[in-house]
Amino acid sequence: MIPRHLKIAVVAMFAFVLFMSFYLRRVKRSAAELQATATDARPVAPPASGPTETVTLFVAEDGEGILRARSAQIPLPGGRQQRGEELLRALLNVYQQPGSPHPIAPAADIRSFFLVDPGVAVIDLNAPFADQHRSGILEEQLTINSMIATLSMNVPGINRVRILVEGRTRDTLAGHADLTEFFDVTAVTRGQ
């Protein structure tokens, strides 16, 4: 015959184990959600304000290896610097859509765009842009060319462009396209 106090102790222990398993599952789920939020580098910048304008984006098409001009209507601020940044974001937005002709990582973003003097522009990409970019001469060069051609078309007067990643010089975009020098806008657009 099992003593009564032993039965109560066993039942209590079962109840405790059951409670702890539910509790652990809940803690694990919370931790996973927290981690997903931490690695989500999607842009959270507010939408640009300004009048909506029709602009020309030069969209890369991997299949044919070309840039194709595409009209888009986007709100653009007045300043050249802000204008350039929004144009680049609009271009990235095209690449991040499902079925894009030139897919780019969802977490890719433009950290900043600034003009050193009226003719020299610097594009600062975030790390996921380069780290998660597909490797290949064509893919990398099309990305660079499409950004430069889009800027050149919509922000007149830019002659040279430098591309940084997280504010620093990086050897290549993803193993091929050289980022250590200034790009000559005329040479890039003529090469298309």
Partner: protein, 483 residues
């Protein structure tokens, strides 16, 4: 100091440093001599045995085709079918079983056979006897050997006349008391004896040896020696330089009917610390050697693009580079392959080695998993300051050769299109193209009709390599006249 001058100095220093960065000469090679072609192939060590690619070996002799069928590698040479199984030593050629000394291997779609099986395998494919010097890795197909006779002349100065049954083109170097000739492309075979002793006090002995796909003839003497060619390359005359007391600093005149000496060494100066190497007299156009530099991109720690779950760009580039070397070799061009193994080379090392070698044209090979066919790129030059003096800025050294680079890119694209292979020429900011002083292009091989699997297919790569080699061969006159 101005910026361009600094960069020019950096270019010069890098080039000097990289003189020592040329690909290692001690990699194993198989030299194949035949009436059809003379060429070399890389030999790889696997499980303590030496292997060579069968398709590359037989390709110069006829039509070759290969494909995998389940666990079988079906290889067809002209009308002869053969069947090899990776990991097994039993094969079937012309319907008959052949026992290989070790297992057949497949690597990156290349079928590798043991080197020691060639004496048995090749006669079955070629129907002709072969003579394989296995320890030296020299393979003679048919009756192609070049024989040598020697005759000492006790004149003053003493002369050793070497007569060959066919024109030869050795690399010659000297060190105190010795003159060494290395026959890497000539099917020279041993004279009657490995060591010839002469009854002469100045030129005493000649020793013949074979190693790593080359024959080596070392002539020993008690005075500095020089060599000169005559009789259309069939005769090499080795002579002692006159003693300093009688003709110090005076160049001896060559014997009547002989070409000027290819190498001289004046007695009063201290002996050189390193052998002085002369290059084979492969002269074209403006007197430059015509060397095609093939650069398989990436390698070692740098894998390049991931073309599939298991296929790295660096491996495809290497296989493609080797095939391209082979195709260029078949068309009679000297090739410098910058990477013939899984080694890490920086972009500056690649550019420095290529510039130092004074190549006629540079071809980088890449591979990509998107698109189809091939893309051929020339340099998209960065913005640089004005050129100051004779030196070129490192980052735009390509400027003076860019127009001919673009012509070569168009020619390659044209040849590929003739082979029904989609191809287009474009520009890219791709190093080291902009650091090169010779015409330079990068070829990016993209998938074919069968998708990414084509990138590792020897047939697909061979088609592309043949098109590139045809384009280079067709443009050889214009490339040879480059400064």
């Amino acid at each position: 100091m101005s910026l361009p001058t600094t960069k020019s100095l950096a270019l010069l220093l890098t080039a000097l440093i990289l003189l020592t960065a040329a690909p290692s000469a001690d990699e194993k090679h198989l030299s194949v001599y035949s009436s059809v072609a003379t060429y070399t192939l890389p030999v790889v060590d696997r499980a303590g045995r030496e292997y060579v690619g069968l398709l590359e070996l037989l390709e110069p002799f006829g039509r070759v085709n290969s494909h995998m069928e389940g666990q079988h590698w079906r290889f067809r040479f002209n009308e002869i079918d053969s069947d090899f199984s990776p990991g097994r030593s039993r094969a079937r050629v012309r319907g008959k079983e052949v026992e290989l000394p070790s297992a057949f291997l497949m690597e990156n779609s290349r079928g590798l056979v043991p080197l020691s099986s060639l004496s048995v395998l090749l006669p079955r494919f070629l129907g002709t006897p072969v003579n394989f010097h296995e320890s030296a890795r020299r393979l003679f197909i048919g009756d192609v050997a070049t024989h040598m006779t020697s005759q000492i002349e006790n004149t003053n100065p003493a002369r050793l006349v070497l007569n060959f049954s066919a024109p030869v083109n050795p690399t010659i170097s000297t060190e105190p008391g010795k003159l060494r000739m290395v026959f890497s492309r000539d099917p020279v075979v041993a004279p009657g004896s490995q060591t010839l002793t002469f009854d002469n006090q100045t030129i005493t002995q000649a020793t013949y040896a074979e190693t790593n796909g080359a024959a080596d003839l070392t002539i020993s003497g008690t005075a500095p020696l020089m060599a000169s060619f005559s009789n259309g390359g069939r005769t090499i005359t080795v002579a002692a330089l006159p003693q300093p007391s009688s003709s110090a600093g005076v160049q001896p005149s060559p014997a009547p009917g002989t070409a000027p000496p290819v190498l001289t060494q004046n007695p009063p100066v201290p002996p050189p610390q390193f052998p002085v190497v002369t290059t084979p007299p492969l002269l074209v156009g403006g007197g430059h050697r015509f060397i095609v530099i093939v650069d398989p991109a990436h390698g070692g720690d740098e894998r390049g693009a991931a073309l599939s779950d298991r296929l790295a760009e660096k491996d495809v580039n290497l296989g493609f580079g080797r095939l391209l070397r082979h195709e260029l070799d078949l068309r009679g061009m000297s090739v410098l392959l910058l990477r013939d193994g899984d080694t890490t080379l920086t972009l500056d090392q690649r550019a420095g080695t290529a510039n130092t070698a004074r190549g006629a044209v540079y071809i980088a090979v890449h591979a990509a998993s998107s698109g189809n066919g091939a893309r051929i790129y020339t340099a998209l030059l960065p913005i640089e300051g004005p050129i100051s003096g004779a030196f070129h800025p490192w980052n735009s050294a390509q400027a003076s050769s860019l127009s001919i680079s673009q012509s070569i890119a168009s020619a390659i694209a044209g040849e590929m299109q003739k082979q029904q292979m989609p191809a287009r020429a474009s520009v890219a900011s791709l190093r080291p193209l902009n650091n090169l002083i010779m015409p330079a292009v990068a070829v990016e091989l993209a998938p074919g009709p069968h998708g990414t699997a084509d990138l590792a297919s020897a047939n697909y790569q061979q088609k592309a390599a043949a098109a590139i080699a045809d384009a280079i061969a067709a443009n050889r006159p214009s490339l040879a006249t480059q400064p």
